[in-house]
Amino acid sequence: MEFLKELQKDIRYIEGLHACINCGTCTAICPAAAVSDYDPRIIVDTVQRATEMDIIQLLKSDTIWYCGECLSCKTRCPRDNTPGYIIQALRALSIETGLFVESRQGQKQLAIKRTVGDHILQYGYCVYIDEVNTDMYPEQGPVWDWLSQNRAHILERLGASYKKEQSGTLRNTSAESLNDLRRIFEETGGTQRFDKIEKHSAQKADELGIEFQTGKDKYFDYLYEGDQK
């Protein structure tokens, strides 16, 4: 595979990169640059001057995974580049080529696939109340524990449609709608991307000697919790 040519086909690359003048405005206003080893100016400059080896190094790196996709860089770039779009193209190619498992940050895509990704196809929502608890999300605080313990009563008082087959807040997504989503994922590469994330992650977990099954297994904990567990 010619990595640079593949990258240049991505619509997000085409829209994201025009001519970077290396002014550093993107880095100055970037929330990720303030807290992690991430510098959008350097990434854009690297991609702009790219050699095949540079691109491979980026695809295997942690740095492309630190962007938070706030897209503040799109607003502020004086030359209409969008570093956040270039990051999207790099991330997509990193997964496509399986190189995402070569970085610790890239490996974590499995944990996101097994939460948000699986929620979409199971519930029709990216986030769903039954899957949120203060073990995984301690910042939810004691008010969330109270809501979780009393969710049917509280949601009824607030007029929600929780678990009901009707319109309204937190209603069940119909089987027909879930089937539409599943078919769209199959037709547009969503399912294939999920499969690639699972397949390459299984190989990496085996290489690292960490138990790999489904759902929230030991490899998921290793990625989701990081050094905290």
Partner: protein
């Protein structure tokens, strides 16, 4: 004070349809502020007499997954195409969504289709193969906060309360926080653009409050998509919210309002975490600064019972704000179910003062 800079927003106006909307819900708002969208619908229908359709067939737009890098743009475009197909089937032309990430997604898809018509054709064909559906492009695409902005004067004229301190008569100091994807991607699609957004500032002005202009007013709340979703990366999110709190605190805000469901959540919950981790609280007397969505604030000013609009589900206690506004509430009702059913009470945090 008006300056040449802060009146720039006047150059960024957008068309906001007057009636007949197809409503798309938000994953985050439904889960974390489960009464907010129903207050919005109630205000639009009952207070303003407008027609809005709440469809049982819609799904997520997939925006959180897309911005976290786990699904291709083609998948997102086709899911968006399905939402537009549902709008078309229901006989509507004006699309209004509750989520700012979704608003960015819908805007991005429509802009992409303008510049790359072959991508629209691909999405049409994929949608047809997958579901047999077809669609029309919405004539008008707006965020729910745009509707509250459009009708802010009508809401003010019906309101029981204004953003005034009952004890002093002074305007309450209100921080407005705009979700990044409301206007940073496409400034021309937001009321007031990206640098001087007016969509919430306009509510503050017309509802009697005072805007707080602080250094990090435009900084991201720190969602970061994949960064928040992973516990091991969540410091990104906390750090960026703290950056904002530290910047706004010297101005002593009475309340924060946001138009993005995620921002409301992070600015509420990270205050709890900072209090418990560091002992720092940002409100008065050990409380936090209450954080409300725009429709919750509108509901309060219109006289809705705070416990019927879900304010008991905020981790930062809202009572200091209710007291300033002069809203009379029954503390005993706060944690009750229907017909006064006793549901116990949440545990109190160790540092952050709560009621």
């Amino acid at each position: 004070m008006k300056t040449a800079k802060n009146t720039n927003w006047e150059n960024y106006q957008k068309e906001i349809a007057d009636d007949n909307y197809y409503f798309a819900r938000s994953c985050i708002r439904q889960n974390f502020f489960p009464a907010a969208e129903d207050i919005f619908l109630k205000i639009i229908r009952k207070e303003l007499g407008k027609n809005i359709f709440d469809d049982a067939q819609q799904t997520t737009c997939t925006g959180i997954a897309y911005h976290s890098g786990i699904i291709p743009f083609e998948t997102t475009m086709t899911v968006v195409a399905r939402q537009f197909a549902l709008m078309t089937e229901a006989g509507f032309e004006n699309f209004v969504c509750s989520c700012v990430t979704s608003f960015g997604i819908y805007s991005e898809v429509l802009e992409t289709w303008k510049h790359f018509p072959e991508k629209e054709e691909e999405a049409r064909q994929a949608l047809m193969r997958a579901t047999g559906k077809t669609f029309e492009i919405p004539k008008n695409l707006v965020h729910t906060s745009d509707l509250i902005y459009k009708f802010r004067k009508e809401i003010a004229s019906r309101a029981t309360f204004r953003l005034l301190d009952k004890h002093t008569g002074n305007p309450l100091k209100v921080v407005d926080h705009i979700g990044c994807h409301y206007a940073k991607i496409f400034p021309e699609k937001g009321v007031g653009g990206a640098e001087f957004p007016y969509v919430l500032a306009g509510l503050i002005d017309d509802w009697g409050g005072a805007q707080v202009d602080y250094p990090e007013r435009r900084h991201c709340c720190g969602f970061g998509f994949r960064q928040y979703l992973l516990k091991s990366n969540r410091g990104y999110s906390l750090s960026n919210s703290k950056y904002k709190f530290d910047s706004m605190q010297p101005y002593h805000p009475d309340v924060i309002i946001t138009n993005c469901p995620g921002c409301t959540f992070f600015l509420d919950r990270w205050q709890y975490v900072i209090a418990e981790m560091e002992g720092t609280t940002y409100g008065e007397n050990g409380y936090g600064i209450p954080v409300l969505t725009y429709e919750e604030l509108a509901g309060l000013l219109l006289g809705y019972n705070p416990w019927d609009i879900g304010l008991q589900l905020h981790q930062v206690t809202v009572e200091p704000l209710l007291d300033k506004l002069g809203i009379v509430y029954n503390p005993e009702e706060k944690y009750k179910g229907l017909q006064g059913l006793d549901l116990g009470k949440p545990e109190m945090p160790e540092v952050l003062r709560c009621c």
